[in-house]
């Protein structure tokens, strides 16, 4: 067995199998050891030549070109993707979501309109104006800097039509 700076012929052949005959693809340290071995060893040169012939044999395996229209088929089969920018401006997953919302609102309106519920009925549960004013007066004594809640805002929206009467 030939030895050269730690790399013998058997080791060289193992590395040929792992990294191939082209020493430029080898890690630098092993490449250096192999170059030294090749300089000294006829058997190593024979092994490398055999590895090169084997790789040339592999290269004889031809691959057919992809069909000329394959790229076009790939692109034409593309599902349209929503861009992120467009998605940011349109926060719903699909156009169906707001459409369903509008449909539900319309159905509610039709129901209210057709069920005979009058304005008076709607506001019958509201306090009368005096009680309302008393409530406002009382509120003047209360710190109102930040007591509003979502529920308060909704209640205010109901009171305003009553004031128009």
């Amino acid at each position: 067995m030939t030895r050269s700076q730690g790399l013998d012929l058997a080791g060289f052949e193992r590395l040929l199998d792992a990294w191939g005959a082209d020493l430029t693809r080898w890690p630098a340290e092993e490449r250096h050891l192999a170059e030294v071995l090749l300089r000294d060893s006829e058997a190593a040169r024979t092994a490398q030549a055999a590895a090169r012939r084997f790789e040339a044999l592999l290269d004889s395996a031809r691959v057919p070109e992809p069909a000329l229209d394959l790229a076009a088929r790939i692109v034409s089969a593309l599902p349209v993707k929503q861009s992120r920018r467009r998605a940011a401006a349109w926060p719903f997953a699909t156009p169906l979501v707001p459409a369903l919302g509008w449909a539900a609102a319309a159905a509610l309106g039709l129901f209210v309109g057709s069920s005979g519920v009058s304005e008076l009925d709607l506001f019958s549960a509201m306090p009368d104006d005096g009680a309302q004013q008393a409530s406002f007066d009382q509120d003047d004594d209360v710190d109102d800097t930040d007591d509003s809640s979502e529920l308060d805002d909704l209640a205010l929206g109901v009171v305003l039509p009553a004031e128009d009467e």
Binding site: A18, D22, F54, L58, D59, L70, A72, I74, V75, R84
Partner: protein
């Protein structure tokens, strides 16, 4: 060693009318074929079909060669390419440029090819390479023009991972580290796959060459 220039733009008979059916990129950002893969993938992630088209041009031939050598069948290789690029389109937002795009794309192609090979086995069918001679033994192929088929048949006979390792490194020109990443193994495991694969191929093809000489 045969290598493929995976970065070179390719002309593959693209049908420009077909591209018109998907959304093109906005005029504010012009892409050229010189744009690098990560930049193109950013555009693909937001639905830019023109960037996608450039990537298809750039990588289709290499991916097709890899998958064909895994499957030995042109029609199946084309189907896997189509599915691989479709996944590239739909999953583009998950691509992290830490890895080369080819690594990511070839891993998709490899997984899809292995799925098909598994289905072949479960279906009791052997490999189905194109235009096989009557016998699948390489030594039975007597004419020089069939040497290519003999090598493909020998490749088909290798275990899948050995075959994939050899194809990625020898034919696709990947480094051992890149190929290891595609196959999700460490470099030492890849070197072991390569060494065993080369030894088996050498024996198989030596039989073929003996058959030709006798």
């Amino acid at each position: 060693m045969a290598t493929l220039d995976l970065q070179a733009p390719l002309v593959l008979g693209l049908d420009s009318a077909a591209f018109g059916r998907v959304r093109e990129g906005g005029p504010e950002e012009h892409l050229t074929v010189a744009a690098d893969d990560p930049a193109l993938m950013e555009r693909v992630a937001v639905g830019d079909a023109s960037a996608y088209r450039i990537l298809v041009d750039r990588h289709l031939r290499g991916l097709h060669a890899f998958v064909y050598r895994m499957l030995g069948n042109r029609a199946e290789a084309e189907e896997v390419c189509q599915e691989s690029f479709l996944r590239l389109w739909t999953e583009a937002s998950r691509y992290v440029p830490r890895a080369k795009l080819t690594t990511w794309l070839y891993r998709i192609g490899h997984n899809l090819a292995v799925d098909r090979l598994r289905r072949r086995r479960e279906g009791g069918k052997g490999p189905d390479p194109d235009e096989l001679p009557d016998s699948r033994r390489p030594s039975s192929i007597l004419q020089d023009k069939e040497l290519s088929q003999a090598v493909q048949v020998a490749l088909d006979a290798l275990p899948e991972r050995q075959r994939a390792a050899l194809v990625l490194v020898h034919y696709q020109g990947m480094s051992n580290a890149e190929a290891a990443e595609v196959l999700a193994v460490n470099v030492r495991a890849l070197e072991s796959l390569l060494a065993r694969g080369r030894r088996e191929l050498r024996e198989s093809l030596a039989q073929f060459q003996e058959g030709r000489q006798s």
